[in-house]
Structures are given as structure tokens and as C-alpha cells.
């Protein structure tokens, strides 16, 4: 039964509890130093919560039991639950879905500056920087499993490297880009050395501290860094030595950011599927076992931090060039959390997932300005819901395909290959346990 007494009672309790909870916030208003009580709004909220909680409980049963009521009868909402299940498994079974989405997006993005306003162009340029940042952090957190909470510090170091080198030494954008990459890699080492032995919560706390230290250093060394006022008049990148008009320059920066994001995607994807990437994943799964398998923990952790932090350096330089003004306010703990959320929402270790999540989370605030008051509320809600229903993230990391010569023959050894490869592909999609039958079916 949908409306069992137990379920009704529970929802009632939930709604009562919620009403108590929000009463001080919504029920009491101070008007001219006198408290005015408004019970009705709290009451309406309680009713809303009551129904929401009923729907919630029902949903769980649909979701978890595939739409079957406890007594074995099919419930009213079974088709809904099954349909939802079908959709989610469908998405899970087509790992290329994310890739196609990215490809279509790429086409759209490459013509975007010509079909939309300058405002849109600047917004999207920033979103691409977030793709870089999220993918960089994805190396450290998603692939290597080292929880870093102060990632914005590397972003800040990159941005300030460009800003200050330009201000004091007159270095241009293109020289500063590799320098900033180098400086952030060094910063990555500086952070990695003391935390080599730390794991989990402790690592998170130390890296959080690192993020704050960098931000406070920048704020308080005001003679050198401009302090809280920041650095302004940072030049935009030159186009083969030419200065561009402001509008052209915006478009130029847009394409630079798009190109940088693309490079990041390709490089991080390749890294993940390599010997180095595999060592990072081993580190995430089991440190003792990876040591026993001959993986140098120190070296691998240092590599993870270095490989992860350099992207933030590049993104920082691009950010400084895009804005032509930077201040410590752009590199707070909230920014670190935002980047981490992109990784978690996208799917730890997944390239397509994290890139998409970065785009969505970076663009959402701009297009939902109307709801800006509720931004954090919505954001929190999305996070909670994701963790409950899809803890593995939007798109779980795709599995690399391997071709053992024993099954597929040596590469390019003959025409027989293609037939074998075909059957092997069907294996890859189907159950590996009944290889032969699968292959025969398709043959």
C-alpha cells in the first residue's frame, strides 16, 4: 500500500521536526524591536514537507525494489521506477555517450563567439578555465585518491605569477605561461613533501591549510602583491606580437581557453590510461599493495601533485589575462570546494564526466541569476541528492580496452584480425564469461 499508517506517521514526524527547525528563521520576525510571530508560513511549509517526505519514502521503494510492494504486488508506480532504471542503465552501458556530448559541445563552442554576445563569450571562457581546473584536480583526487582541499591556491599562484612578473619585469603572457606552469609544479612539490605520509582526513586538513596560507600570504604581502586590492592592468595576451581590439581580444582569449581546455582533456585522458596513471590508480586503491608491487609511493604521490597542480597554473595565467585584474578574493576556500564539487559530481576519475560537470557548475550561476539567493541552497541540495542516488558521479570513469595479442593477434598481422576484433568488441560489451557464445551470435 502506498499510504500505510507507518509511512504517514513517519512523514508527519518529519514535517513536525522540520517545522521546529525552521520556526526561528521563518516564524519569528523582528519588526521595530518587537518579535512578530507568523505561524501560518511555517505551517504551510510543514504541509509541503509532509507531502515531500511521503513522495521521498515512496520513491525509495520504487527505486530500491524495482517498483514492487512488499507483499509482491506491483505498485501503482512500478512503470515509473522501471523506466528510470532503464534510462540509467542505458546511460551506463553507453560509455561513448559522454564523449559524443563533448564532441557536439565542441562544435557548438567553436562557433559560439560569432553567434552570441561578448558577455556570453567571456562567461564561457571562464567555464573552460574551470574545465582545466577540475581536470587538474581530477588527477590528484579522482585518479590518485589524494583528497586536496586547497586547490585554488595553485590557481592563485599561477595567476599571480603572471601578474607580478608582468608588473615588475614586464614579462608577456606567452613567456609567463610556461613559467607559471613550472612555478605551480614547484608549489605542488612543496605541498606534497610534508604530506607524503598523510592520508584521507589529515591530508585534507593540511591541504586546506595550504590553500589558506597562500591566500593570506598574498593578502598580507601587500607591498609586493597589492594585498586585498589586487593587481590591475594585467595585459591581455598578444596575437603574434599584435595588440588586438578589446572585442577581438575577448574572442582570442575565448579560443585560447577553449584550446587549453581541449589540450587538458586529451593530456589527462592519456595520462590516466598510461603506466603512470595506472600507478596513480593503484595508489588510490591500496597503498600497501602498490608498494609491494614495486610502485614508489613517494615518487608517485609527488607526480600526482605535480601533474595536478600545473593545470591550475596555466588556468591561473589565462584567468589573469582574461580579467586583467586579480585579487585574493578570487581564490578562496569556496573556489577550492567548487572545483572539488565538479570532480565529485562529474565522477571521480572520469574525464568526460568531470569536464561536463565543470561546464555545468561554472555556467549555472550565470544563467540562474534570478535564483542567485538560493544558489548555495540548490547547490547543496544537488550535492546531497547526487551522493544518495549516484555516488559514483554523473559519468563513472570509462574503462580502457586492451587487446592481448593472444586473443587478437599481433597488430596488423592479417585480415583475420578484423573478424577477431569484432567478436572481441562484442565481448567487451557483453558478459566476458560467455565469450564464445556471444561471439558466435554476432558472427
Amino acid at each position: 500500500m502506498f499510504l500505510s499508517a507507518k509511512r504517514l506517521f513517519r512523514s508527519l514526524m518529519v514535517s513536525l521536526w522540520f517545522m521546529c527547525l525552521v520556526f526561528p528563521i521563518m516564524g519569528i520576525k523582528i519588526v521595530k524591536k518587537v518579535a512578530v510571530y507568523s505561524f501560518d508560513s511555517v505551517f504551510y511549509l510543514g504541509i509541503g514537507i509532509f507531502f515531500a517526505s511521503l513522495a521521498w519514502a515512496w520513491y525509495f521503494e520504487v527505486y530500491l525494489q524495482g517498483g514492487m510492494e512488499k507483499d509482491g504486488k506491483k505498485s501503482l508506480f512500478a512503470p515509473v521506477g522501471q523506466c528510470w532504471k532503464k534510462i540509467t542503465t542505458k546511460i551506463e552501458d553507453t560509455p561513448s555517450a559522454g564523449k559524443y556530448t563533448l564532441l557536439i559541445l565542441l562544435v557548438v563552442f567553436s562557433i559560439l563567439p560569432f553567434v552570441s554576445s561578448m558577455y556570453q563569450t567571456t562567461i564561457f571562457a571562464l567555464a573552460f578555465l574551470y574545465v582545466m581546473l577540475a581536470l587538474g584536480l581530477n588527477i590528484v583526487v579522482g585518479i590518485a585518491g589524494q583528497l586536496v582541499l586547497g586547490y585554488a591556491a595553485f590557481y592563485a599562484i599561477g595567476a599571480y605569477t603572471y601578474a607580478l612578473l608582468n608588473q615588475y619585469l614586464g614579462f608577456g603572457f606567452w613567456i609567463c605561461l610556461p613559467i607559471a606552469g613550472f612555478v605551480t609544479v614547484i608549489a605542488g612539490f612543496v605541498l606534497a613533501f610534508p604530506v607524503l605520509k598523510l592520508r584521507g582526513d589529515y591530508l585534507a586538513i593540511v591541504t586546506l591549510g595550504f590553500g589558506e596560507i597562500v591566500r593570506l600570504l598574498i593578502t598580507n604581502f601587500s607591498d609586493f602583491t597589492g594585498g586585498a586590492k589586487g593587481v590591475s592592468n594585467i595585459p591581455r595576451p598578444s596575437f603574434f606580437g599584435m595588440e588586438l581590439s578589446p572585442n577581438m581580444n575577448t574572442i582570442y582569449v575565448y579560443y585560447l581557453a577553449l584550446f587549453a581546455a581541449l589540450i587538458t582533456i586529451v593530456v589527462v585522458a592519456r595520462l590516466k590510461d598510461s603506466r603512470v596513471g595506472m600507478a596513480l590508480q593503484a595508489l588510490k586503491d591500496d597503498e600497501i599493495a602498490s608498494e609491494a608491487m614495486g610502485i614508489d609511493l613517494r615518487k608517485t604521490k609527488l607526480a600526482a601533485f605535480a601533474l595536478g597542480s600545473c593545470w591550475a597554473g596555466f588556468a591561473g595565467v589565462l584567468f589573469a589575462a582574461r580579467n586583467s585584474f586579480i585579487s585574493p578574493a578570487s581564490f578562496t576556500f569556496m573556489d577550492s570546494v567548487m572545483i572539488l564539487s565538479m570532480v565529485v559530481l562529474g565522477g571521480m576519475g572520469s574525464i568526460t564526466g568531470v569536464a561536463l560537470a565543470a561546464l555545468i557548475l561554472a555556467l549555472m550561476p550565470e544563467y540562474l541569476r534570478a535564483f542567485s539567493e538560493y544558489r548555495m541552497l540548490i547547490f547543496g541540495l544537488v550535492m546531497v541528492l547526487m551522493m544518495i542516488f549516484r555516488p559514483q558521479g554523473m559519468i563513472p570513469p570509462s574503462k580502457r580496452k586492451y587487446y592481448p595479442s593472444a586473443l587478437f593477434g599481433k597488430k596488423g598481422s592479417g585480415k583475420n584480425d578484423s573478424a577477431q576484433k569484432f567478436s572481441a568488441n562484442t565481448i567487451a560489451h557483453g558478459n566476458s564469461l560467455n565469450e564464445s557464445t556471444e561471439g558466435e551470435k554476432h558472427a
Binding site: 592519456r270 598510461s274 603506466r275 595506472m278 593503484a282 609491494a292 608491487m293 565481448i427
Partner: protein, 292 residues
């Protein structure tokens, strides 16, 4: 140490002779052990988990390490493979005919690349990886491709990777897991996980393999297969094997020599038939009782 039993007499390379210069190659009989451990001790705070343990393993030997629960067998493994730092004692090892190296104070990954590989009592597979990938990780210390190779995928690193894949697949065939190569490691049944750990350890090209209770959780059929596998490894690849095992049938039929531990000390060692009749060993397993 405690028991100068007859088993020691029968052993052509007795411990006494081993102690002067096992690593220097000045053996009377000319054959040098691949592993020699001298008075190894390990304290955990007040607990002496290992107490003056001596051991040597000859090339191509299958040696068993047995003892009641908590005797310190796993601790011994951990001290030799570098996971724990021994409190006292020396560990020397080396391939047959090559100079030996002292393994104390060397980090585990160096010990592994030196040629000692192990499995774990509580299985430690890389659970987010596939079966094949688990074995591929074992090749890490024998391959070289770096970050640049990963980014540019130059022929050298691609070839190396294909070799790694082929090698890993061949090892899976060796342990009989080839049909499951695409499966997630965490989805394997218990016995298969143990075999996968062996394949992963073999991927590091060891000359000395440590197996910590490889038959635990296996059914009789699987245990028979495992026995064959261990013998094959020794005969085909010439790997020396030290195994901890509680399955006495397996230990007795498989091993050339047996070491017995109790409360961190070695209480006996020798040939299986001698260990079977050794009163001290019987007492350790069955408790103080005359009619045992």
C-alpha cells in the same frame, strides 16, 4: 634454535654452516641460498612478535612456514618484504649466482624490484581495476614509460604497453584466470582473487615468492590446482617459494622443508616427515597433552 632435532642433521646445508657468510658465497657446498635471515626480531611496543628467527631458502626450494595463529608468520613476511622495519637482525637475498644484498632499511618497492614478491593474507587487490589491469600494475617496476611517453604515446611506450598487456594475459593463463580478464577484480570469487594475487606477484619477475595462506578460502579442487601451480612455478620458472599455510595436507606434500614458529620463535625446522613427528610441533598445535 631451541630444538636441535634430527631434522637438522639430515639437512645438507645446516643452519650453523649457513651462519658464517651465507651472503658472501663462501659456502662449502658451493650453492648459495637465495634468502638468508639471521636472528630477525620485531617488537610491537612490549610485544615481541618475532624473536631471533633464522631462515634460509635454497634456490628452487619450496619452504613452508607454519605455526598456530598469532605465531608471527605474517610479521616475518612483512619484515622481510620491507613493510615493517625489523627491530634486530639481518635479511640478505640475491638471485642465484649474483651478489647478495642486505634488505634491511630498504623500502618495499625496492625490495620488489630486487626480485622478492608477495601475496597478502587478507587479499589486497586493486578493487577498482580489472583483472588484467591488476596484473599490469605488477609490471610497473619492470617497465619505464614516463609522463612524456604517456602524453605523446610514442612507439616505444606503446610497444612497452602492449608487451605489458601480453605478459599480464600470459600470467592470467598461467593461473587459469584468462577467461575473466575483463572482469572487475572485486567481482571474482575468493579463490580466484588469491590466484590473481599470485599472478600479480609473478608479474614483478621475482626469484623469490612469498605466499601468505594462498589456499585459505579455497575449495579442495582449487587447492589441488594451486598445488600444481606452485610446483609449476618452481619447475618452470625456477622461483623459490616460501609459503605460510594452515592446510597441513598441502604443506606436507608440497614443501621441501618446513619451519615451525610459535610465539614469535622458531621451534623446529626440517623435512616434512620429521616435522610431522616432532613432539614440540605437536605440542604447539595441540596444546600440552601427553596423549596427543
Amino acid at each position: 634454535m631451541h630444538s636441535e632435532n634430527k631434522a637438522e642433521m639430515q639437512n645438507p646445508t645446516s643452519a650453523r654452516r649457513k651462519q658464517n657468510g651465507a651472503h658472501s658465497g663462501s659456502q662449502n657446498d658451493g650453492v648459495q641460498p637465495v634468502l638468508s635471515v639471521k636472528s630477525l626480531s620485531k617488537n610491537f611496543g612490549g610485544l615481541r612478535a618475532l624473536n631471533d628467527v633464522d631462515m634460509h631458502i635454497m634456490p628452487g626450494e619450496i619452504v613452508a612456514l607454519i605455526g598456530p595463529n598469532g605465531a608471527g608468520k605474517t610479521t616475518f613476511f612483512n619484515c622481510v618484504t620491507g613493510i615493517y622495519l625489523p627491530t634486530e637482525g639481518e635479511v640478505w637475498a640475491g638471485r642465484q649466482g649474483e651478489p647478495h644484498k642486505q634488505l634491511n632499511n630498504i623500502s618495499p618497492h625496492h625490495i620488489t624490484s630486487f626480485g622478492l614478491a608477495r601475496t597478502f593474507q587478507n587479499i589486497r587487490l586493486f578493487s577498482s581495476m580489472t583483472v588484467l589491469e591488476n596484473v599490469m600494475v605488477g609490471r610497473h617496476c619492470r617497465t619505464k614509460s614516463n609522463v612524456l611517453g604517456a602524453i605523446f604515446r610514442n612507439p616505444a611506450s606503446r610497444n612497452e604497453e602492449q608487451e605489458t598487456v601480453d605478459r599480464a594475459y600470459a600470467l592470467l593463463e598461467e593461473v587459469g584466470l584468462q577467461d575473466l580478464w575483463q572482469e572487475s577484480a572485486s567481482n571474482l570469487p575468493y579463490g580466484a582473487q588469491r590466484r590473481l594475487e599470485i599472478a600479480r606477484a609473478l608479474a614483478t619477475d621475482p626469484f623469490l615468492l612469498f605466499l601468505d595462506e594462498p589456499a585459505a578460502g579455497m575449495n579442495p579442487q582449487e587447492t589441488v590446482e594451486l598445488k600444481k601451480l606452485v610446483l609449476r612455478l618452481r619447475d618452470k620458472l625456477g622461483i623459490s617459494i616460501l609459503l605460510i599455510e594452515h592446510d597441513m595436507g598441502m604443506v606436507m606434500s608440497l614443501s621441501d622443508r618446513i619451519y615451525v614458529m610459535e610465539y614469535g620463535s622458531r621451534i623446529a625446522y626440517g623435512k616434512p616427515e620429521d616435522i610431522r613427528n616432532n613432539p614440540q610441533v605437536i605440542r604447539a598445535y595441540l596444546g600440552e597433552s601427553d596423549d596427543a
